[in-house]
Symmetry: C2
């Protein structure tokens, strides 16, 4: 019996025409990251388990791919942020701060198989890391990059939601719920996914009295333009220090986002954004496609002031965002928002008419490639009809047949495979057409 050749469940494997579309999106993200001066980095996929799990909680530990090799307890990275914290601690004396880096790579989580969930997926991250401190201004710059990317990707209208965890933490302290901050934060984070009744009953299950539940729900429902939300928050007259710092940070961030020319309609404050991961300490973001809220957040992140503290005693506060590209691509494909690309990167297929013209056809291909034109040459000795069938199936844009007549006259025919239009000209002219 032959072994199973399906890719494992939860592992994406694309056909060439899908891969090209995936790569096109990836290239736009990478290009914008560089445009904003985020320098690409890479770290190993395999790390010491003790290093990766220095911070992580129970969910992560269950999902992680962990194994031993020789005497080593090893794991596959489950995100790119923890390896970044380790990298900073390790190389801090050789880096320049504020340190801006991008990282696009695969991460691994052995989650329960579920529609739209992946066990191996690409994350596309940018982070800015400061030494000792990092200006709050950077918290506004990251959504600016995200704005530029989703504008350019053109998947429809989108909304970057911003909040600050200090506001939530402070509010809960103000309500006398300080001991339950983390667990309430996780419930708030789920608020969009469960019914209001379920949220209320889960809050009550924590032993929170009705009055405080109402206050909580009223609080996270505060909405409006950023300036209005901030005014409403100030009007609550809370005295909690953390809360007040959070409101002031949120004000700076949203003012800066406006100064950075992010369209009004593409961002807003949402006090129900908490982010499950408990390493966030201030600003948090999530991004939604307005027409497809069911996709959930397609790009998330936030400020983390203490992540490197697991690896070094120095302070390296950071802020970052991440696009989970594999899941996004899968969902967009299902929605028909990305269409298949071509099956080949070649712009031209050169077809030698017969074995006699092979040498000349190779030289034509050479010239095209030398001029920067992506060129495929058919090296099978097919009848012409079969050669054109190959070109057709491949979806290549142009074909040049090299026959004895072409070689004699020095005029070649560039045939557009879609329109059928033919150009008969010397190869230099054909190159100009293709460039």
């Amino acid at each position: 019996m032959k072994p199973n050749t399906h890719a494992l469940t939860g592992f994406m494997e694309l056909l060439p025409q899908q891969q090209q579309e995936f790569d096109r999106i990836l290239a736009i993200i990478s290009d914008e990251y560089q445009r904003y001066g985020f320098t690409p980095l890479d770290t190993p996929i395999i790390e010491r388990t003790e290093t990766l799990l220095a911070k992580a909680g129970g969910e992560t530990e269950k999902q992680i791919y962990r194994f031993t090799k020789g005497d080593n307890d090893l794991s596959l990275r489950f995100d790119l942020t923890v390896p970044l914290a380790r990298y900073i601690a390790e190389h801090r004396s050789e880096l320049v701060f504020p340190f801006r880096r991008s990282h696009i790579g695969k991460v691994f989580r052995g989650e329960r198989a579920q529609h739209g969930r992946f066990r191996e997926f690409f994350q596309c991250d940018i982070d800015v890391i400061g030494e000792n401190n990092l200006s709050i201004n950077y918290d506004a710059e990251l959504p600016r990059v995200i704005f530029a990317i989703f504008k350019r990707l053109d998947f429809g209208d989108f909304l970057i939601k911003v909040n600050n965890r200090k506001i939530l933490t402070g509010m809960m302290e103000q309500f006398g719920l300080a001991g339950q901050t983390q667990v309430i934060m996780r419930l708030i984070d789920k608020a969009e996914k469960i019914s209001r009744e379920d949220l209320i009953s889960e809050l009550k299950d924590l032993g929170i009295e009705q009055e405080k539940v109402d206050s909580l729900l009223n609080f996270i429902a505060i909405s409006g333009m950023p300036a209005d939300v901030i005014k409403s928050l100030r009007n609550l007259n809370f005295t909690n220090e953390t809360f007040l710092v959070g409101v002031s940070e949120l004000e700076t961030v949203t003012n800066m986002m406006a100064a950075m020319d992010i369209n009004d309609s593409n961002y807003g404050v949402d006090l129900a954004i908490a982010r499950g991961l408990d390493y966030y300490t201030g600003t948090v973001y999530e991004t939604y496609l307005k027409e497809y809220p069911s996709l959930g957040s397609i790009c998330s992140g936030g400020r983390y002031d203490n992540l490197t503290s697991y690896y070094t005693n120095e302070q390296y506060p950071g802020v970052g965002v991440s696009i989970g590209l594999t899941r996004l691509f899968d969902q967009l494909t299902e929605l028909g928002l990305v269409s298949a690309g071509r099956k080949t990167t070649a712009d031209v297929l050169v077809i030698p008419y017969s074995g006699n013209e092979l040498g000349n056809a190779l030289k034509i291909a050479d010239q095209l490639r030398g001029a920067g034109v992506n060129t495929d040459i058919l090296l099978e000795n097919y009848p012409l009809k079969k050669s054109f069938r190959y070109a057709d199936k491949l979806g290549v844009k142009h074909v040049i047949v090299v026959g004895s007549e072409e070689i004699k006259t020095g005029n070649y025919t560039l045939q557009d495979m879609t329109s059928g239009v033919k150009q008969n000209a010397p190869i230099d002219e054909i190159i100009r057409t293709l460039s």
Copy 2:
């Protein structure tokens, strides 16, 4: 105690300036692969162990990273060729043959830690796969791509060595050594790394008589221009059919390589090239930097006619080459043949003179980015001296300071950080300078 933050032994981790150089080389390889019409593909890093090991021998099984998750026996891919064979078997009805694909990705081998050996490393592969059969012409096209790449990478003079395993197999049959083909092939493959005496004694240990050992050594020492080697081989008057087919294939491939304008000095026949992997069935290649033969082969590959047979009963012969980039990069760095790049992808750093100019500085940065200029902006409120120290340490090429005077006049100063040359002009003109 803080966890260990070193990358594991055998895992490459680069500083930003090294990473940029690594990425530059990777981009050239990727670009040339596309120029020749090889379409990028990706497959999962994790595969079923039974699938990955369907073919592999003892060495591979020892080196592989293998683990269980739930009920699954899983492994990390140890090359990109076996996953390709699986991919072809799985998706064959949706692919167009001859199928040209490139794959650049990480593979994993838990080898014994050793200088210059990596456990996680990038392979950069191209392969052409035929349905039922594949013209020998493609065996000549792959070295053409390798030629183009190493020309462009400019690491010095290089030599692509070609051979055909049918010649070696047939020669051994002719000598009556048919039963020992594989083991002799592996010894021949080591011939450059061990002394002639050791080779002779290892051959004798196999029970091969002195006369045949001499014949073998004389055979693999045959050298000269490809046409001369082929003449010498024909003059041996061997009658073995496999041998004769091999000689004829080698003749076609070397003739085609000449027709493809690969420089004479950049390729040659070497009858001692056998390639350890026993899935090769015909043409084999290795590539050497002439001034650094101790690096060993920096790019290898060959023809494999039966690799997919482990996964499907249809025939999909293929030919491919692979550049082991991580090891190559490491060695070139040691030799001083690659130098560090810059620490940033940004071409310009915009520095707001103070908090008052922040909004205007952001708009300047926006304009630069909109025009395609990679731009970093310093969002910390540093004194000017400290800002310039940051620019200096970062190694950014240009700086623009945005102060009240600049905002008033609309003239900004672009300062070249290397030459110190300053251009005072409206931002449009500065953009033209930078583009």
